[in-house]
Symmetry: C2
């Protein structure tokens, strides 16, 4: 395993953003894969492809029976009217339909199991080359008939600016609970763009998360940078059946289009961060976001 | 050729819609293909597939040099600030970018050539089994970085309700001037759904076209009907290179998602109607729409 000690542990900001200056493209200063083939279930070729593209698919990651069980739990959550008042629940601006439930591994015992599932956890540890903790978890509902898209962004840019995540040593699992077609707003990633960091313009307003979870503007890359990256790397759209998973690097440039089809899209999303990369003070915000969005408890998952 | 005389020519409304009543699914009462293989460039199998699916692709319809010429003309139109004041020009609500230019075959000599081009005209005549005239023409710009989608609709429903088109005997040519990927808002069609007519709820307000060209609500199918049709027919997304064309029936259930990618999408769109199906008074509106949207001059193209 590569450990943090092989990289100078400095407190300087390697990934400046939202400093009010112009947008800039910066080199990534961190590895993408921190472990190796001996550390977990993925072979060297799989890890090499993750390193190159910034993502990989596992199809299936969970069985059809498990998909049904998780979908049942999703229905239960979406019908739980008491939950609507919970600050961890986000609704679609226009339709008032459920969009996301954060910290779902703490709200739901059913989803809690996924976090410790070896199919998930062993892969996270292997990629990050260390013990890991959950930085964020959520379920996303993307309703049909006009559900909104998510504009292009790097998760790391936000986690660095607003949560104080120092380095790029985190990865996300998106496990599909409905089919992802090429026409219902599937995840799009620019393959390879995770090795470039897009420093964004603007400054983080107070309590930015209340707006950004619904419709982010600050912390989104400028059009010039996006055009450069899309021309160089192209766009991969991640389609697949329910039960498949996409694992992607924290600095992937990703987004999704809206969805006018009748087919909704739901997934579970779990972010693991290395315990050697625990969050410090935010790099470009007054105070950290609430812990249901960016955890401050760095206890390893076991 | 099948001629109109084989179907009773009655003035009754075979396709009621927007009568303030509930939504309903009705059978199509008209053929899809009115000519046969002897009448034009398409063979019997091609026509049979058009009959079954309601659309077909011609790839390529025009050459790369022609694509370049039309793209140059598009740029000229989009840079013509005087044109912005023309009522035939529609701009994107949020960004003020050009969305459509109607009656483009009258505004632009370059695009006028397409209407009489035998690769286009002979196919239109063959499908409609008669001489044809242009009911509508336009170029569409779908900007990247968040261009809006078009919600599901049947063009015929609007042309019947607002323009007085009596029967389903019209077809549209969409000629791509930029690549249509599966992630930049390509045309989606429910294959086979053109044989079902979705009668819509609501009533047409005065001057509805001023709103509906930007963001249509009246004349859009209800969610129940869309779910039934999508479950039965599925969704085809029409991707392909610049220069390819999609020909589709007037009653196709179609739409498109938004487009957050940097890749814009532009096309030329020409609607031919049979001269034997000339428009009468609107079936569900006070007065016909302006002639740049729905022609009242039924002179055959020659």
């Amino acid at each position: 395993m590569t450990t943090m000690s092989t990289i100078p542990q400095v407190e300087q900001d390697l990934y400046p953003t939202r400093k009010g200056t112009e947008a800039a493209l910066l080199y990534r200063r961190d590895p993408v894969v921190w472990g190796d083939a001996a550390d977990g279930p993925m072979d060297a070729a799989t890890l090499a492809s993750y390193d190159e593209n910034g993502f990989l698919s596992v199809d299936p990651l969970i069985t059809p029976d498990e998909v049904e069980r998780y979908r049942g739990e999703l229905r239960r959550l979406s019908e739980d009217t008491a939950l609507r008042a919970d600050e961890r629940v986000v609704v679609e601006p226009e339709s008032d339909e459920l969009r996301s439930v954060f910290e779902v591994h703490k709200i739901s015992d059913v989803f809690a199991e996924l976090v410790t599932d070896p199919r998930v956890l062993d892969r996270a540890r292997q990629i990050l080359g260390s013990e890991v903790y959950v930085h964020q978890s959520r379920v996303n509902f993307k309703p049909g008939f006009g559900g909104n898209g998510f504009y292009w962004h790097s998760d790391f840019e936000t986690w660095h600016a607003e949560d104080g995540m120092p380095r790029m040593r985190a990865c996300s699992f998106s496990i599909a609970l409905t089919p992802n077609y090429d026409y219902n707003g599937a995840l799009m990633i620019m393959p390879g763009a995770h090795k470039t960091y897009v420093s964004c313009m603007g400054e983080t307003p107070d309590d930015h998360y209340r707006v950004s979870l619904k419709n982010q503007e600050i912390g989104t890359p400028d059009r010039g940078s996006l055009s450069l990256l899309a021309d160089k790397h192209g766009i991969a759209q991640l389609t697949g059946p329910a039960g498949a998973a996409t694992i992607f690097d924290c600095n992937c440039m990703h987004g999704s289009n809206g969805n006018i089809t009748p087919f909704p899209r739901s997934n579970v999303f779990i972010v693991f961060n290395s315990v050697e990369n625990a969050c410090v003070d935010p790099f470009s915000a007054g105070k950290p976001r609430p812990t249901f969005i960016g955890a401050r408890d760095f206890t390893p998952v076991r």
